[in-house]
């Protein structure tokens, strides 16, 4: 008790407030309801990139979506979104040997910033990246 008392009395320890920062927020953002299958795991809550009206797109192997193709990963969301489907290349390095080689990637990356209602049924603000 002595050590704990010393810490508590020193002013070095303060209890976290629920609204101090995002790390201490109790509610978490929830996923959109739409799901599609994956080759090796359970279905995931995600639309492939493409026009928001759900029309056919080369970037979406699951065809058309009359309900619309929501680019947000988060439901109960209102805000701005950016979405890309990109292929690109560059230089890769084996950091043990120093060997270098050309390397290519494909990415579906997005951002979301705005308000959402989280799992705590409360409205929050936040910014998110889908990587």
């Amino acid at each position: 008790m002595g050590a704990a008392g010393a810490v508590l009395g020193s002013g070095l320890w303060t209890p976290a407030r629920a609204d101090d920062d995002n790390e201490s927020r109790c509610g978490v953002p929830l996923p959109i309801t739409y799901t599609h299958p994956t080759p090796t795991g359970p279905p995931i809550h995600h639309y492939f990139p493409g026009p928001i009206d759900g029309s056919a797109a080369a970037t979406d192997p699951f065809g058309t979506h009359p309900e619309g193709r929501d680019p947000s990963l988060i439901t109960n969301f209102s805000g701005v979104v950016g979405e890309v489907d990109l292929t690109f290349s560059g230089t890769a390095t084996d950091t043990n040997t120093g060997a270098k080689a050309g390397y290519s990637f494909h990415t579906d990356t997005r951002f979301m910033r705005g308000e959402f209602i989280g799992s705590d049924q409360q409205r929050h603000k936040g910014a998110f990246a889908f990587i």
Binding site: P49, L73, I74, T75, V80, E83, L86, A99, A101, T109
Partner: protein, 151 residues
């Protein structure tokens, strides 16, 4: 297949089932819809894994292993107007979006060298630096939307 092996970066799936999504500082995003421009800029993102392949990421057993990696920097810049599109399904989703002409990406990412049990066999470390000039924009859009109970 590169002689440096497969690499695939994502933050994993949250207990809420939110897919590959992390919270970021609000200042990481700049967006100007009037000028059809936006930028996402991230640095030192260590809440990502190298899952090596997408199927391995989705497999809850991760047979190829799963190790923490670092996105040292990532920037994407959306520019231009290819098309504008508004849509509402009347119930759960509506939005107004600008399909961009291009969205070049700059990214530097690294994976440390690994040993079992984090990967089935020891693997050398890996670093990748993208050349933004090689970016092929298959699809890009920015806009605003409302979904779910905030429809």
């Amino acid at each position: 297949m590169s002689p440096l092996g497969p690499h695939s970066y994502d933050p994993g799936i949250a207990p809420s089932l939110l897919v590959w999504t992390i919270e970021i500082p609000e200042g990481s995003i700049e967006i100007d819809l009037n000028n059809a421009e936006a930028t996402l800029h991230l640095e030192n993102v260590c809440r990502v894994f190298d899952a090596f392949t997408v199927p391995n990421s989705f497999d809850t057993h991760h047979p190829l292993g799963l190790v923490s990696a670092v996105i040292e920097s990532l920037s994407i810049h959306w520019t231009g107007i290819s098309k504008t599109l508004s849509f509402s399904n009347g119930k759960t989703f509506r939005g107004d979006f600008i399909q961009s002409v291009a969205a070049p990406i700059s990214v530097t990412v690294s994976t440390p060298s690994t040993t079992p049990p984090f990967t089935p066999a020891a693997q050398d470390g890996f670093e990748f630096v993208a050349d933004p000039a090689t970016t092929v924009t298959n699809f890009a859009q920015i806009g605003q939307e409302h979904n779910g109970s905030l429809f």
